[in-house]
Amino acid sequence: MKQYLWRVVAIIIGGLFIYAGAIKVVDPVEFARDIDNYKMLPWQVNVWMGLYLPWLEILCGLALITRVLYRGSVFVLTALMVLFIIITGIAKARGLDISCGCFGHASKYLSFAWHLVLDFLLLGGLVLLWKNAPPRSDAQLA
């Protein structure tokens, strides 16, 4: 029974990352601008991040759902979430007016507090998936 529950959690989180990646992939420059608002990296790097990160999210989301490269996707997404929470905290402490752009324009209507709640929920879900990863024989290519 528990196994089904983690499967559902993996599908929900995977779906969320696919959605988040898909809405950014259509306008990588807009996403690069959102990254640039954090004022941490030069623009040239942000452009490449804007092109690369949405595809990484989509691939990891697909991996969570299909269980192909499952453990790797949980690892990458957890690392991304931790990094993102730290960077958001630093940007806020520096007084930057940021829109994370995580969910495209919908992000602009979310307050900082709601962003944090969502981020920690996702991170919590990923940690639980990590702890309850299916046996290697169940997760293909694991």
Binding site: W43, Q44, V47, L51, W55, L56, Y70, S73, A79
Partner: protein
């Protein structure tokens, strides 16, 4: 753990492929060198030279605008976009004039966002430029 790392590297590498294809596909549309194309910027000196032919748009928050602003500038920020845009179009706007949008400094992005919305949402036919260095550059030039 080894398998996890191996899979992670595989995912990180796999994502490079569609990103590279997209970069190639969009290579002419991406501003690779700077966030704002040089052709979208205008220096204080040049914009001042436009005289009455320039419409100054202040994209900063209302409190900063009320404290001080470029003479003749109109407040138009994203906090009250619809209301301020209608006011601007009804009172100040003219299709022949050049629009110069500014915010507080070179590091702010408000002017860029307002300029983009004027072009893409309001579909204004005017030449729309962003003031290089923003309000800080204006103050420095005044001294």
């Amino acid at each position: 753990m080894k398998a996890q790392l191996r899979q992670s590297v595989a995912l990180l590498a796999l994502a490079l492929l569609p990103a590279a294809v997209q970069a190639l596909y969009l290579r002419d549309k991406i501003p690779w060198q700077s966030r704002v194309a040089e052709s979208d910027l205008v220096s204080v000196e040049v914009a001042r030279g436009w005289g009455a032919n320039a419409l100054w748009v202040d994209a900063r928050p209302a409190e900063e605008f009320e404290r001080d602003h470029i003479p003749g500038a109109v407040l138009l920020n994203e906090d009250r976009w619809n209301e301020l845009l209608s006011q601007f179009l009804a009172t100040q706007w003219s299709p022949e004039k050049k629009i110069v949008v500014y915010c507080s400094a070179a590091s702010c992005n408000l002017a860029e966002d307002v300029a983009r919305r004027l072009r893409e949402e309001a579909k204004l036919p005017n030449e729309i430029r962003i003031l290089k260095g923003g309000w800080e550059a204006w103050l420095a030039q005044k001294k």
